[in-house]
Subunit: 155 residues, 2 copies
Amino acid sequence: MDKHIIDKAKRIFEDYLSRQGSRKTPERFSVIDELYALPQDEHIDVENLFLKMRNKGYTISRATIYNTLDLLVECGLAVKHQFKDKVALYEQALTYKHHDHHVCNQCRKIREFSDARINDIKEAMGKSLDSKITSHSLVLYGDCVIEDCENLKLG
Amino acid sequence: MDKHIIDKAKRIFEDYLSRQGSRKTPERFSVIDELYALPQDEHIDVENLFLKMRNKGYTISRATIYNTLDLLVECGLAVKHQFKDKVALYEQALTYKHHDHHVCNQCRKIREFSDARINDIKEAMGKSLDSKITSHSLVLYGDCVIEDCENLKLG
DNA sequence: TTACATGCAAACCCTTTGCAATCGT
DNA sequence: ACGATTGCAAAGGGTTTGCATGTAA
């Protein structure tokens, strides 16, 4: 809950909306409030964001959350992930340093990591495939050895 | 259409089904026939596999294709991919040498590549995350510079 | 024979869309 | 006031499920 970061995010969003000629609605900013109220490395899906906001008294619809998250992704304030599960997960991106993810086969816990060698791969493959690489997705799946993995196991 | 490979795949599938005490139905083997009739590096989704088989006169249902593909993935005869699109894509896996994928942002063309450094990353991260890495997914997205990219662009 | 597999269609789930009502600008 | 945005509910699209029928063993 870093007030400074949230304010910065809102300023960026305002600029973006102005540039696009889009409206600055309270609903849109409330999504920033909620996304950035989460721990920096937490991933949340639309349904949980919706429930969380409804529980707090916001009157926002799923449709608006989907719409707003798209905008946030477009202007670099959110990152969307699609792991093996069917739901998309979002995380805040303002303080984002690029990282990749490890997902436990059992408990589905998501952990982040960073390894510079991915950049070497991108550079080398960009050249050999004659493509301008714009982004990538790297997910390692494994059985994590943390002691509460089994307990967290999902259906 | 390498008859030898298809036969080998069927033998592996037979063994697998026997071991599981599952039935060796013609529908199941027909999916191997179709999947392995494709070019080795081609990716196909369930709907197209279904249509292709129906057009050839097979009477198979989507449900059976889904079911069979799951079995093929389990016994290592097929690999399932979930790129950014919503449909899952499958490719044959018998002659599979691990490779990763490049997907063009524009034309969605999928190309394969292989870079040994991914193994270094898996090994290093497995250690530092204290996890037994079982698999990974690496997709590079980029704008490919092949001349017909634009023409292939999808809606 | 008999339990597993199949085909079909309905159900599911996440996401998108259509539309009347609302609300920035 | 005008038109973009909203909330709601319905529609979409891929996948899964339920069930009566068929069939491998």
